[in-house]
Structure formats: C-alpha cells, structure tokens
Amino acid sequence: MQIGFYFDQTRCTGCSACRVACKDWHDIPAGPENWMRVIYTEKGKFPDPSVSYMIAPCWHCTDPVCVPACPAGAIIKRKEDGIVFVDSDACLGNDECDEKCLKACPYNAPQFGPEKGAGMRKCNYCLDRFAEGKLPNCVEACPVRALDAGPLRELEDKYGKSREAEGFKYSQRTKPAVVIKPKERNRI
C-alpha cells in the first residue's frame, strides 16, 4: 500500500494554516526547518494577474531518491504504507554528509534546522497520528478543505489522476504520491 496526499489547488488561499499546524504538531521552531511549505506563484500583468499556491510537504515518493542518496541509510521507506521517514539516530547531520538527501530530492522536502550539524527532518505523514488512524495535521487544519490524505489508490479513485499544477512538476523518476486538482486561470 502507498499512502498519499490530495491537494485542491483551486481552493487554496495560501493562508498557511497547514504550515503552522505542522509546526505546532511537530514542535518545530520558527526558522528554516519547514516540513510543510506553501509555494507562491504570481504571473501576468496588471490588470490581469494570476496567482496560485502549491503546498510542499514530503510526497512520500514511490521511488524516493533520497533513500539511496543517504550515505548512512538513515532514510527509510516503510513497506506497509510507503511512508518515508528518517532514523534520526542514524542521520549524520548536514555538516557530515553535505545534505545529500536534499540535493537528490526534486521537491526540497528534506529540512534542516539552523544549528550546526543539524540532522535532516521532514514531513513524516504525522506517523503518530497515522498510528491512531488520524489524518495528518495539515489536512485537518485546512480551513477550506483543500487537502486530503489516504491510500493513493483511493485518492485516485475519488479525485482522479491529475498530477501537474502551477508550482509543481511530477517527477517520473521519483513518482511522488499525490493527486492534484490544478488551478486554471480564473478569468473568463
């Protein structure tokens, strides 16, 4: 089984409740370490601009390139559900390995705190909540219900298989576990 995310880009207002809820649940201080990011895109010219937001957690790829990139074998993809997580004890820290996981990842999912030699941490699909049968905190936090999570197959059945959107390119190499309802330009 492979878990995944659904993101409805047409609903996202860029409010960042998902990002703050993530920081709260995992107790990440303000600063460079952001397990959930919100990518802003602005295009076009006045009076016809177009704006979109794209969430950026870890996509728990089917073929996660971060796993083989790690010299310490600290990144593990769970067989039973496909969650990609970090063994913090095994992680060498960014000084030691020069952030090989981050360099490998097309989505900049691996995150590092500001401290010297920080270990890599990232979205773990809220493992603790997952174990209790709960949705990731970002999903429950979205005020406009733009996020969903669950087995990727079920998400595909429910929402379709679209995987391209402004601010996101599907990597055939890593196969991120996501389906997206992309935003078209609003203007008629």
Binding site: T13, W25, A141
Partner: protein, 744 residues
C-alpha cells in the same frame, strides 16, 4: 520564570498527564473557533481544532494554530512593572502587586481630588472579546462607582457600516447565514476579502462552495487579494474611496435601461425618487454616468455598464460590501449606496441575495447580545445629551471622545472642543497608539499625561509609554463566554486551560482588587463560575437555549441548528405591513429624513459620492501622489499576535506596490523604502506586485510602531501615516490617506 517559559514544550508527550481542554480564543479576529488544547504541566503543548462531524466543523485559521506560541511567548509580561526611563523608552523595573495597586489607586485618588473625575480617561477595546473578563465593562463599573470618568465612543472597524445600516434599515443585523451564498448566482465582493479577515468561521469555505456551485464571482478592490485570487471570475481594480461613484453610475445604468425593480422599490422603500434625481443629475446638473464614475474611480465606463447589467439581470445576486472601504472619509456612503443597489435589484430579504450594509451579522449568537458586567450610569455622562439611537455624531462626542480622536483630545482638552482636560489614562484590551490614526501624535499625547497605566500581555508600543504596566492573563488562563464574530449560529465557552502564568491576573481580578483599595464594597461578590452560569441563564438568547450549563462548558460550544439559512429582513419582505423595517417610515430609507434633519453636508439624506480631503482631487495629491490602504493582516489579529514567530514567518511585513509605481521611483522588489507624508515616515520592505492598482500602495495594519532617534518608524506601523479623523457617520478614515514612497 522566563527561563521556565523559554523551555520548549516538545512533542514528547510521554510521562505526565496530557489533558485536552475544549475552549476557544477571544481575539477580535473575524472568527470564533472551537479549539482542543493539549495541556501538560501547565503548558499548552499542542492545538487541535474542532472535531465535530463534517460538514459542520468550524475550522480555525492559522492564528489559533499558533495560539500556544502567544500564550507561552518568552516576552509575555509576567509581573507588574513601573517605568524607570523616559516615556516610550521602554525601561521598566519589577515591582510588587502591592506597590502597583497603591500606585494606581493613589493616582486615581490624586487626579480625582485635584481635577475631579473628568481628569480620568478610561481606554477600553476589542483586544479581548468575551463576557466576564472584558475589562472595559468591569473598569467602567469601578470608575462609575468611583464617581465617573471620560471614555471614548465608537470603534475603529465598523462605524461607517453601522451608521449606514441604522440609517437605511434601522438595524445592524444585515447578514445572511454564510451557507446562503450557495443560493446565489452572482456574488460581488466589493472590498471584501474573507480569506484574510475571516468574516465568521468557515465563510471562505462557503464562498468556495458557492463558486463550485456555479456562482459567478466578481471582486471589486484596489488589490487582487487572496479571496479574489481564489474565487473571482473577474477582478475590477478601483481607486480607494471611489466605490460610491461607481455604484451611483451602476444605478444610472439601471435607471436609463429600466433594469431596476420598481415594484420592489414601491413596496419596500422610501425616497428612491430623490436618489434618482441625484443619479440623473437633475439637481446638480451632473449626471452620474459611467463616464463620470470612470474618471473618478479608474474603472472603465464599459466595465461599469456591463456589471450594472449583469447585476440587475442575475437573480438572486449577493452584493457583499464590507467595512474596509467604509473606513474612509465618506465611508458610510459606500455602504448606503450598496444597500440601495441591493434594493434596486430586489435582492433584499431573498435567499441568495443580500441586504448589503457591510456588517454581515445574524441575530443568533451575535456579539452585541452577549452578557456583560453592568457598568452602571457614568456620573460624568449624566448631564449629557441622550445618545441612544442618534445618528448625530456631534451628540455622541459631547461627553465622549471619538475613538480616532483620543490622542488629539489628550493634547487639546476642553479648549479643543473635547469633553474635558484629560490628566490620566488607564488602558486595557487595546494598543490605540498603534491602532488609531497618527501614531506619532499619539506618542506625543502619551508623553503629556500626568499618569498612564496599562493592563497588558506584552510590552506593546503603547505600553512603552506607561508609568505602570499590569500583567494580565491570556484567554487560556481564564474561563469565559464568547460569541462568534460577528454571529453564530452558535455560542462558545472559554475553559481555563492553564493556571495563570507568572504573577499575571485577569483584568477583572485586578479591577476587583483595586475596588477594595478604593473602598468600594461588594464589587465582585461571585466566583468566576457563578458569574458565567448566571450570564448563561439570564441571557435572553442563551437562557432558553442552553439548558445544561455543565454540558455547554464541557463541550465548549452550543450549536444551533437552523431549519433554513437566516436571510436578513426576510420577515419584512414577506409581510411588510405587519413587520415593518425599524426605520421611522417602516421602509428601507433610501432617503432618510433623520439624516436630512442632521443638516450636515457630510451626512446627506440620500447616498452620494462626495469629494473629501486626501482624495485624488486634493491639492495634496501633487505632493503625495499615492493612496495608502491598510487592510487586515492574515497572520495577526490587528496588533495582537505580532510577536508570534510561527505567524511572522508566514508573511513578511511589506508594502505592496505596482511595478509602474516602483519603476518610476527606482524601486525593486525587496528594496527597503520609506513611505511618508506630513504625519510620519515608515521604513519597510517593498513587495513589487501586479496585484495592486497603480497609484495605490498597501500596508497591513497592526505591525508595531518603533520610532528610531530620527522619528522614522522602523516597525512599519500603517497608522504612522494615517489621519486621526472621522467621517460624517463616525467612520475612522484609515483608508483615506495620501503618501509618497522613496527608496531608502
């Protein structure tokens, strides 16, 4: 103590018991959301939201997601302090509560004996919106029993919309339940951005659902805000302060093309003929054509014509005006004209329509109907005029000071036409130096006071000017009752999640202790829980509805299920003869005799576009050729939560500027710039964006005023630039402000 607070709660929840507390917050935020706080060892370690079954879940926004970082912020004030440096310098030393009480009680007595009670000014505010601990009521009661005091009238947010709604409908309950937007075929967001200012929990969600349900959505706004970017089919950029001109021109198109609902106007309104005369230019010789409005508003005449036709011929259609554009020099005219268009199109009292008016309140769970400690009759105001229901702001400021004139009143006193010479001020639940017009003037005024005491959570820009700072508890440290903002249909209970931190006390406890020192007996005879139970039981709304107080408390919320969405004035539209509007005529007053009786050119009896100081026709425009907007921020509640790092990093504080205006000034995205006018100068980072109309810049309100030695506000407080004035209807003129920008 501070070290203790700096310790991160940590996600490790093993060891020690974790309690889940169902509660909510008390911010003046636009929502009211059930929270489940995870508490361990007197610390909130996590925040979860509502767990009610969908689709009825009331989801909190990012602000309360970061709630614990405010409650446990290392800069929370933890003990009473007295000033040691100059006013505004921010130097303080710790004192005991005994000394603090002696000082405040001593100053109250000294000022009363030296100048009389008229020397005492009480500044209350919206920083804490709940029944019991809303300090303003308790402090008013105390100072009433102490012989009287002077205070302020009105609020910064909504006076234009309130005045307009009272004139037109005789009521401020002009809203529909938000799910009624799903019945709309066309929704016009006229200066309304619920993605940021919330306008009731889940409002943005319902708006998105309305769009998904096929509604066409048009946004009229100087900014392409996040709501427009998410849902609008069309963005019509417009210059600030000119909405009324465009609306009048839409009325002109509807009249010329006979697209308006004459039967509706005949049955439910009075005075349309007078408005028609104005719009057709029969009195002043100026017909309010789309071309006329285009020249003023910057909106193409053809766009105005098209929107007028679409709005008049699409039913039902909801014109959603709000309060931001009404925070301007003739702001109430915008809401009045919007309401008039709602009547002309026959959308008032209809499902999927709207009544306009900008307030969006519904009569179930409205804050205005919340119980509170009865303040009593202030002796200072006893010989004043009767202000109840008056539309005459002049009468309201005989015994009170308009909220946007507090600091002018301190500086000028009776000689300046204000009710008294203010000698001391006691302030709570507000940061008015930062949140009313002209912060530099406010700073000057606060230096003039003989004594200034502040109840506060943080050392705010205003608290820095205090002689005495009293640390208060947050809503997480109190139990209380709250109402959704501005409406339900539900009621919420604030359950104390943690015991007071440091030496913090609730405002009510502070005020009660002070009462004892001042020799006022039996000021607070009940326990917190006895008060709350009494409030629930005796409130005419909650009394009959909430029969099980303990259950309400346990669940933190009482939801009201409505058989169908609330539609403002549905009753009047269904049966106007027996259920008239609450106006003197019993009809919607497009012409208001009460407004006419004011005999004030700023308060015309029909809605009208008028030229004002600091509009684009003002000669000052040559010197300061940019209009400043000061919208709500999404990552603060006004100036509350300013220190919360999780929220700060979501959106850097920047000034929005169009590339056309930026290039003309050699400004690039990310440059440091100065924004200035005759009132002040702020330093801020430029955000060059196509999302704002050229000629207008935008700074979100609420960033903290921080003047350097040259008087440049390094904090980027929008009100360093705004004017401390009000409109004919009492609106604070925050969005009528001319500025210039240069590269720093």
């Amino acid at each position: 103590m501070e070290d203790n607070l700096k310790e991160r709660p940590g996600p490790n929840i093993s060891g020690g018991e974790v309690r889940i507390v169902r509660t909510t917050s008390t911010f003046d935020c636009g929502g009211r959301c059930p929270l489940r706080l995870h508490v361990k060892d007197n610390k909130i370690i996590r925040v979860e939201g509502d767990d009610f079954s969908e689709p009825g879940q009331l989801r909190t926004c990012l602000r309360c997601r970061a709630y614990r970082q405010m409650v446990h912020h290392p800069e929370r004030l933890m003990y009473p302090q007295k000033r040691t440096g100059a006013r505004g310098e921010g130097k303080f030393e710790r004192i005991s509560w005994d000394e603090a009480y002696d000082t405040l009680a001593g100053e109250l007595i000294r000022v009363k004996e030296t100048y009389g009670n008229r020397g005492i000014f009480l500044a209350t505010g919206g920083g804490y919106l709940a029944s019991l601990h809303n300090a303003g009521f308790a402090a008013s009661r105390l100072l009433t029993q102490f012989g009287g005091f002077v205070t302020h009238y009105g609020n910064i947010s909504s006076e234009g919309a309130v005045w307009a709604s009272l004139v037109q409908y005789g009521s401020v309950m002009v809203g529909h339940s938000r799910e009624d937007m799903l019945n709309s075929k066309l929704i016009i967001l006229w200066g309304w951005d619920p993605a940021r200012m919330i306008s009731g929990t889940n409002t943005m969600y319902h708006l998105i659902k309305a769009k998904e349900n096929g509604a066409r959505i048009v946004a009229i706004d100087p900014r392409y805000h996040d709501t427009a970017a998410t849902v609008a089919d069309e963005w019509i950029p417009i210059f600030p302060g000119t909405d009324t001109a465009m609306m009048a021109a839409m009325a002109n198109v509807m009249i010329r093309e006979n697209l308006y609902d004459q039967a509706f106007l005949d049955k439910y309104t009075v005075g349309f003929d007078k408005f028609e005369q104005y719009v057709m230019g029969r009195e002043d010789g100026v017909e309010k054509t789309p071309a006329w409005a285009s020249e003023i508003s910057g909106v193409d005449a053809s766009t105005i014509e098209r929107l007028a036709r679409v709005y008049a011929t699409t039913r039902p259609a909801a014109l959603m005006d709000c309060q931001g554009p009404a925070r301007s020099a003739m702001g109430e005219q915008y809401n009045r004209c919007a309401m008039t268009l709602c009547a002309m199109t026959g959308n008032v009292g209809r499902q999927g329509g709207s009544a306009g008016g900008g307030l969006m309140g519904i009569p179930v769970g409205h804050m205005f109907r919340m119980s509170a400690i009865p303040p009593g009759k202030n002796p200072f105001e006893l010989d004043g005029p009767n202000v109840k229901g008056t539309l005459d702001i002049g009468i309201r400021v005989v015994k009170r000071v308009h909220i946007n004139k507090i600091f002018d009143a301190i500086l000028k006193g009776k000689e300046g036409g204000y009710p008294s010479d203010i000698k001391m001020m006691w302030s709570m639940c507000n940061n008015y130096l930062n949140q009313t017009g002209n912060s530099n003037k406010a700073a000057r005024a606060l230096k003039k006071l003989e004594f200034f005491a502040v109840n506060e959570l943080f050392m705010t820009p205003q608290a820095k000017y205090a002689d005495l700072v009293l640390p208060v508890t947050s809503a997480a440290e109190r139990s209380d009752l709250t109402r959704p903002w501005p409406s339900g249909p539900y009621y919420t209970f604030v359950n104390r999640a943690i015991e007071p931190l440091g030496e913090c006390k609730s405002d009510f406890d502070i005020i009660s202790d002070l009462a004892e020192r001042l020799g006022i007996k039996d000021f607070n005879p009940y326990s917190e829980d006895e008060w709350l139970r009494m409030f629930v039981e005796k409130n005419p709304e909650t009394g009959p509805q909430i029969t099980d107080y303990e259950k309400f408390k346990r669940e933190g919320i009482h939801r009201v299920s409505l058989p169908e969405p609330i539609v403002a004035f549905r009753e009047q539209i269904e049966d106007i003869e027996n259920k008239p509007f609450l106006t003197p005529s019993g009809r919607i007053e497009i012409f208001s005799q009460r407004a006419a009786n004011l005999n004030n050119p700023l308060c015309p009896p029909i809605p009208m576009y008028m030229s004002t100081p600091e509009d684009r026709k003002d000669s000052l425009f040559e010197k300061y050729p940019l209009q400043l907007l000061t919208p709500h921020p999404k990552n603060r509640v006004h100036s509350d939560l300013y220190k919360v790092e999780w929220l700060r990093e979501v959106e850097p504080h920047r000034v929005w500027i169009n590339p056309v205006d930026a290039e003309a000034r050699g400004i690039r995205d990310g440059d440091e710039v100065y924004v200035f006018n005759g009132r002040g100068k702020v330093a801020i980072t430029a955000w060059v964006t196509e999302r704002i109309i050229p000629g207008v810049i935008s700074i979100f309100e609420g960033a903290w005023y921080d003047p350097d030695e040259n008087g440049i506000d390094r904090g980027g407080c929008a009100n360093t630039l705004t004017k401390d004035a009000y409109s004919g209807g009492g609106a604070a003129v925050m969005n009528t402000c001319l500025v210039e920008v240069v590269k720093a």
